[in-house]
Symmetry: C2
C-alpha cells in the first residue's frame, strides 16, 4: 500500500559559518577563535576578546564541525557499542545506561547489532574502527573471544559489559554471576527443595559458565547431590532452546522439584516444556530465572528471578571506558555488581 504526494523537498545548505568566517567577522585570527571556544584553552586568550568571540559565535549560529576536529586530533568522540541482539530486552537498559553517561561527556554512541555470525561481527568491528571510534563497549564476548584479541591488536580502548573474557585482557563490568546463582539456589533450598535441576547457559559464555559454577557451589554447600543428569546446557539463550533443554532435563532427572535457569528466556522456555507435560509451576515444579528482564513480572506465573541491574552495568562500563579514553595506561579493572533476588510467584515450597 503506498500513497504519494508530489511535493519535492529541496535540501537547503545548512548554516555555513565556519571558524574562519567567524574569525573574519570578529577580526581575529582563526587560531584565537579556536582557543576561545575550547574550554580548556580559553584562559589563553584575553577575556574581552573571548567574550566577543563567544557572542559572535552565538549570533552567527556557529557550530564547530566535529568531523574536521576529528581529522585533526585523531579523536572522534564516537563510541561503538556491540550487542549480540538488539532485540533482546536485556540489552536495552545496558545501552541506555552507556549512552546516558557517554552523552553527558559529549560522546555519541553508535550501536551495532552484531548478530551471531563471526564474519559480519568482525566486519562491524572493522567498520567501527575505520570510523575511528575512540572506544568500544562489547556486550558480546565469549570467554575466549578472537574479537577481543582483534580490538586489542588494533589498539582501541575496549570495555566488556555483561559478559567477560576469561583472561582479564580488558576491563569489564558484570553481575556477580556465581553469587547470583547461589542466591537463586539458596532461595529454592530455603523453600524446601532438595532435588534441583540446572538449565545452564552456553559454557562458552562467562554467564553460562559462572552461573553453573554458582549452582554447583550452592548445592555442595548444602551437601546436595549434583549428578550429571541434574544439569543440561542450552545451546543458546532463547526460549525455544530453553524449552528443548527443559524437556531433556525432565527426562533425565525425573525426581526434580525445582529448576534454576541461567536466564529468563530459558526459564520462559521451561514454562512451555512444563505445560506440555501437564506439570504446573510452581505447584509441581518451581522455576527461577536470571536477569529480571522487562515483562517477566507479567508472565504467568510471574517469574521469580535474579535482578542484575543492567542500566547500572551500562553506566559503569561507560565510566570505565571514559577513564581509559581520557587517562593513560590505566590498570585493567573488573567491576562486579551484586545482584538480588526478586521473589515472585514461580517458586514455592515443593509438594507434600
Amino acid at each position: 500500500m503506498q500513497r504519494q504526494r508530489m511535493t519535492s523537498s529541496p535540501i537547503e545548505p545548512r548554516s555555513r559559518v565556519n571558524l574562519r568566517r567567524l574569525a573574519d567577522e570578529v577580526g581575529v585570527h582563526p587560531s584565537t577563535v579556536s582557543r576561545a571556544l575550547d574550554p580548556t584553552k580559553r584562559h589563553l586568550v584575553a577575556d574581552d576578546v573571548a567574550d566577543r568571540i563567544t557572542t559572535a559565535a552565538r549570533q552567527l549560529g556557529y557550530r564547530p564541525n566535529p568531523v574536521a576536529a576529528s581529522l585533526r586530533t585523531r579523536r572522534s568522540t564516537l563510541v561503538g557499542v556491540l550487542v549480540p541482539d538488539i532485540t533482546n530486552p536485556v540489552f536495552s537498559p545496558i545501552i541506555s545506561g552507556i549512552a546516558e553517561i557517554l552523552g553527558a561527556e559529549g560522546y555519541s554512541t553508535i550501536v551495532a547489532d552484531a548478530g551471531t555470525e563471526f564474519g559480519p561481527r568482525m566486519a562491524l568491528i572493522d567498520e567501527l574502527i575505520a570510523r575511528r571510534v575512540d572506544g568500544l563497549v562489547l556486550a558480546t564476548v565469549s570467554r575466549d573471544d578472537p574479537m577481543l584479541e582483534h580490538c586489542l591488536a588494533e589498539g582501541v580502548h575496549v570495555v566488556l559489559v555483561n559478559r567477560a573474557d576469561d583472561s582479564d585482557r580488558a576491563s569489564s563490568v558484570v553481575s556477580d554471576d556465581v553469587a547470583g546463582m547461589r542466591v537463586a539456589v539458596e532461595h529454592l533450598y530455603q523453600l524446601g527443595h532438595r532435588v534441583i535441576g540446572h538449565l545452564a547457559g552456553p559454557s562458552t559464555l562467562s554467564t553460562g559458565h559462572l552461573r553453573r559454577v554458582g549452582f554447583e557451589q550452592a548445592m555442595q554447600d548444602h551437601g546436595l547431590a549434583v549428578p550429571p543428569a541434574a544439569i543440561v546446557e542450552a545451546a543458546s539463550y532463547d526460549r525455544d532452546e530453553g524449552e528443548r533443554a527443559t524437556a531433556r532435563l525432565l527426562q533425565a532427572y525425573p525426581g526434580l522439584t525445582a529448576i534454576a535457569a541461567a536466564n529468563d528466556l530459558l526459564a520462559l522456555g521451561a514454562y512451555k516444556a512444563l505445560a506440555a507435560r501437564g506439570l504446573r509451576c510452581p505447584a509441581d515444579v518451581s522455576v527461577v530465572g536470571h536477569n529480571d528482564m522487562p515483562l517477566v513480572d507479567m508472565v504467568e506465573p510471574p517469574l521469580t528471578t535474579i535482578r542484575i541491574g543492567p542500566r547500572d552495568m551500562g553506566r559503569d562500563a561507560a565510566r570505565l571506558l571514559l577513564e581509559r579514553m581520557t587517562g593513560s595506561a590505566l590498570p585493567i579493572r573488573r567491576i562486579v555488581l551484586a545482584p538480588d533476588l526478586v521473589f515472585r510467584a514461580s517458586t514455592a515450597a515443593p509438594r507434600g
Copy 2:
C-alpha cells in the same frame, strides 16, 4: 565490589598507512589511488594500475579514513535514529530493520535515546546534525512536532517511522493504524461483543489519534453506540497509565464486556486494573492490544493483539531515506503497512 589487576594496556598506534603512503609505495599519484579504490571511478584508471593499487592496498592493510573523506565530501555516511525510549521493546525491531538496510549500503547508524523532555531532544538533534549525519529517522514525532520543523529547516533528510506527522512534511512509514484498530474491533464484534470500550493513546500522537478514529469508524459501521464514557485517553504509552486509565474506564462505562487498547503496554495495564477489581480476562472482559510486542504471547492470558511488522517498517524507512539521500528532490512518500490480527487468549465471547 571491585577487584583490580595492575596490568597496563599501552595503546598501539593503529595501522598507519594512508592514501599518500600507498601511492608512494605503488609509485603513482594519490589521486590515482583514490580513483582506483572508488568503485564508481575505477574505470577511469588503467586496469593493470588499478590492480597493482588494489593489491598493494590489501598487502599494506590500507583502510581509508572515512573522517577525511567526510570532511572533503561533506557527506558522513552516518545516519541518526531517534527513538523515544530505547527500553521500549517495540523499537528494537525497528532499529534493527533500519540498521540492516543502511548497513548494507555502508551507512552506520547512531541510535539516540531521545527521552521525553523537549530540551534534551532538541539538543540531541543538534548534536547529530553537527556530526553531519546524512539523514535522520525519527520514531518520535508527535502529530505537529517542532523537532520535525527544525530538521527540515536545517536541511537534513528526514524519514518518519511508526508515528507520522499530520502535515505530510516528510516521508513516513507507518502501520495502517485506522485499519488495525478496525480489525481489532471487528474481531470483538464477531465474538459477540456489543459494549466495547476504547483505551486510547495520547491524541497528540498519530497512533493515538488514528487508532481512536479506527475505533469510532468500526463501531459506527455496526451501528454501535460510542458514548463519551466509552473512550478514555491515556496520557502516555505505559503500563501504569494503562492501569489508571482502565480504572477510569470501568468506572465510567460499567456495562462494557471488551476493551480495545491502543497498544500492548496499555493492555497489560488493563490486565492489572481488571485483576484489582476481581474481573477475569477474558471471562468477564476481553482485551485486545496493539503492536504484538515481544513476550505478550507469554503473559497470562496470552494477549490477542494487532501485529504491525516493526522490522519491516524499519527496513522501509531505511529504504526511503536511502532514496532521498542518493537521489535528488524526490516527492514525499507515505508507506502504510497493513497489520494483522493475532488471535490469542485474551479475547473470547462475552458471558451469557
